[in-house]
Symmetry: C2
Subunit: 238 residues, 2 copies
DNA sequence: AAGTGGTCTAGACCACCGT
DNA sequence: CGGTGGTCTAGACCACTTG
């Protein structure tokens, strides 16, 4: 009983949908019925259902009811904060992370601006290549403020830095802004990516904020354009 | 008093933030204070604040309060369902829409699959170029099921089809899935875009669903890569 | 200890949908 | 008409932050 009530109801319903016990295009029990089933109040049920709706599991229709959506059609991660590790695992392909660089630097002007820091702050610079099917497809450049993340090792970088930060270091990520553009390759790109003849790379810039609203990480993910794919959901209301 | 109470409170707070009356990094009145100011209940205030949080205007911190975020840094539309018209207006640049084609077609196999229809259904095919600063930068290919959208004219297509569909035709869009990739240009791209020497285009595929969960529109937006930019928010919790 | 946001309750009225 | 989800209320308890 540690979990919030509305969250555990949400989890149970997600489970029923993903396992196939609730089939797509069928109607869920009405909110009042769920109130009885779970011995709770209607607002709590509504909180759980709104979460399901936001995450693409159900569709609520006024006057009719809530309906199970066909989850199997949305083959890709939905939420925005997705790490490379999660993506690679969902795609079920073998992949490898190569740590090219892990060093402490003094931020140049561009970085000072991106991270909102002064030139006196030290910054971790991590450069990693992501390899799939023997091709280095993605170049990840991460910059962390050292004040916030004192320790960083090659081992951590080979896994998922996000996982380490959230679970080990106990930092709470609250939101991220993502920006996608297309640029010409830099020297670094030519060096650390198998670029073939492509004259451009897809650049995904990530600004990650902590719960106290401080920006603590700036990431640039540079993708070979033929391998790039990004999927996003947008919903209006419920 | 037509609007929902929580929506009008949301609107007023958005206004205060965007106009600069509420400055970034300052604290909002506490929820209890807002309850008194707006003569309402706390859950209603919370609904408004959650909307503000979801849309990137504020950040709520347990035990401390709600804080105004620096909205000016997020210079681009945040929500996913954004029409070209909105984007162009926010960028404050002159733009033009050219309707290249507006015709009824029988869907080929690819389209039948994308729209989940049979070969017997008629489909509107609309091809529009988007021009900014005398360059055709974006090629929009829209496909609508004619059963759902019986009437479509060149005039409508020159404006915003979304606006027409939602306000005039009364269709309720519930959610959309977006997919971004990079492809080689097609003949159509060469014909309707000022492509310069670029050997690729950024392709944004949009699947738009109605409230009854039926897919009714498939759109392909093909962008010249040097002019492409996509911004997205992702938030955990709150 | 006081103030904050997060959760939860039990009840109410409304707009919408089907019959 | 009865059932559905959408909104709103007034009150309660909790976990967290700050003085």
């Amino acid at each position: 009983m540690r979990e919030n009530k509305f969250l555990s109801i949400y989890d149970e319903l997600v489970n029923q949908i993903q396992s196939g016990r609730m089939k797509p295009n069928t109607k869920l029990p009405s909110e009042n019925e769920l109130v009885e089933q779970y011995h709770t109040s209607r607002e709590t049920i509504r909180k759980a259902l709104n979460l399901l709706s936001q995450n693409g599991y159900i569709q609520k229709v006024k006057g009719k009811g809530s309906f199970v959506l066909d989850v199997s059609r949305y083959d890709f991660p939905v939420s925005g904060l997705v790490s490379f590790k999660e993506i690679a695992q969902k795609m079920g392909r073998p992949w490898k992370t190569i740590v090219n660089k892990l060093e402490e630097i003094q931020p140049d002007e561009y970085l000072q601006k991106q991270l909102h820091i002064s030139s006196k702050d030290t910054v971790w610079k991590v450069i990693r290549s992501r390899e799939m099917e023997h091709e280095r497809i993605i170049l990840d450049k991460d910059f962390f403020i050292k004040k916030v993340v004192p320790n960083l090792t090659t081992e951590i970088c080979e896994g998922s830095i996000y996982e380490y930060l959230e679970h080990e270091a106990g930092l709470k990520i609250s939101f991220a802004k993502k920006e996608i553009t297309v640029d010409e390759p830099t020297e670094e790109d030519y060096c650390y990516l198998d670029l073939k003849d492509y004259k451009h790379v897809v650049v995904v810039k990530n600004y990650v904020y902590l719960e106290d609203m401080s920006l603590f990480q700036y990431t640039e993910s540079r993708h070979r354009l033929d391998k790039f794919r990004f999927v996003d959901f947008a919903r209006r209301g419920n």
